[in-house]
Symmetry: C2
Subunit: 318 residues, 2 copies
Amino acid sequence: MRSHTYIDSMGFPSIMARILDGKRLASDIKEELKVKIENWVSLGNRAPSLRCIIVGDDPASQTYVRNKIQAALAVGIAAETIKYDETLSQEELLAKIDVLNRDEAVDGILVQLPLPGAMDERKICNAVAPEKDVDGFHIINVGQLCLDMPTMVPATALAVIEMLKRFKIDTLGRNAVVVGRSKNVGMPIAMMLHSDRNHDSGLGMDATVTICHRYTPREQLVTFCRNADIVITATGVPKLIQADMIKPGATVIDVGISRITDEQGKTKLVGDVDYDEVVKIAGAITPVPGGVGPMTVAMLMHNTFQAAQRIQDAKTLN
Amino acid sequence: MRSHTYIDSMGFPSIMARILDGKRLASDIKEELKVKIENWVSLGNRAPSLRCIIVGDDPASQTYVRNKIQAALAVGIAAETIKYDETLSQEELLAKIDVLNRDEAVDGILVQLPLPGAMDERKICNAVAPEKDVDGFHIINVGQLCLDMPTMVPATALAVIEMLKRFKIDTLGRNAVVVGRSKNVGMPIAMMLHSDRNHDSGLGMDATVTICHRYTPREQLVTFCRNADIVITATGVPKLIQADMIKPGATVIDVGISRITDEQGKTKLVGDVDYDEVVKIAGAITPVPGGVGPMTVAMLMHNTFQAAQRIQDAKTLN
């Protein structure tokens, strides 16, 4: 509940937003997971295991996968990268996935995107066994999510929802605006935010949700945001969300990440939100970096442990 | 494009809404389907075929199924009701569905809901082969819909979208409010309304969409509706949508159907909209009855023919 008084440029005190520290929360969650996994293993279960498939040499993908493996090992997940040359054919990749699907020693399978151009990413995502699909991209996991059923939720979307829950942001009957409708981020966030507490997912956030996107006229985006208790933005457009669009006290969650060059010629990472100004108006705000980003990796670890538990439960039931 | 001048209670002329005649449109669509099916059959294909499963003796369900069969036969679909006693067990029903799934003479399978209390409707819906699931309730069809992929869309939701298209209601960048978030009606409508024109579904309506529901405070519902170019309501709450909630000229689509008793003690069917007042403000409005209702059955026939074509195409490809 950190919020502190700030003296603005006119010399007046104003209240600055509570900073929703994703880095710290992610670290707490990973610590919790580590303990849970230790307990689970001490009950005689094998450690959860994750395989990250990477095709080709994209340097950003290499970094992402390295971070995921590192986080996995730190919480006690047996994680391995499986690297293929970019000459790998789609049929070969499907065959490799099939082997992992049937491998009882594997709980979670992640195919790092983007894949080389000739591959059909939708087909590859649907080839991963739904119960091992820790990215939550399989069509059956998407269907379950949209029906408010228990499922595997894409990690970035789950990161946003987990932050709202952990930081105790009220959602029942509140107005939430989701800016950006991507199928891996904006769409699942919008689905979860308006989920019904009487349904099986156990989530039940019950917010009124508006989905804005690139065809939403600027003045309408402003109107919707000004009326929102919660603004979640995931567009990759720096400074899209300005201070005069935010209702005083609202919660602002920034999923965007863009690399920009500032006036001094230095490159830095920024989100979609004009942070320095919005922080003076909002009630709570996520920084970029250090907000949703670190939470995403933590939620991927959560998904992997969940996969291991559900696969184990299913075996016990049979 | 019918809209006509109306003299209001103060003696001033006002423009009454264009009435979106779903009964007539449904009749046109069924006529088109009849011709398309005739052509298809004349090319050597067997007539599309539909099986409607009904379990137990619920009188409303009997009527619904009878209407569907009648409409099917009228457009040239070979349709049959399969009736079971309500003592049928879930396992028996699953076995019956499995037989129909594997029957090459069957294109569409519809299980009339509600099912007797002991049955798990979600499990039954997922037991129908996705390509024969003319209700669009299978989790894979829901997943495809939510990913903007070609799929089988629940008939009532498709009816609403088809009306918007046929009556040429602009949606690009317009504000749409969906009142009611049911998984068979409100949710799929909201998904299609904000679908992206660059995605595979070919739908691409690109509206800004707000999803309201029972936890949306009344004053917020009013605010969202007043700002909307299109209001779609599917709640079953009579007179929920009042004239002072509608922007002059907006389109109002009423999916609700309730049976009420009026002051004279007569029962009649009404929607969610205070029709007699809203018709004076809206630019276009669907009546109840005679709006979305008749369109639903027409879209079910559309789905059945689509199923037959896709199954045939898949065979030809193999």
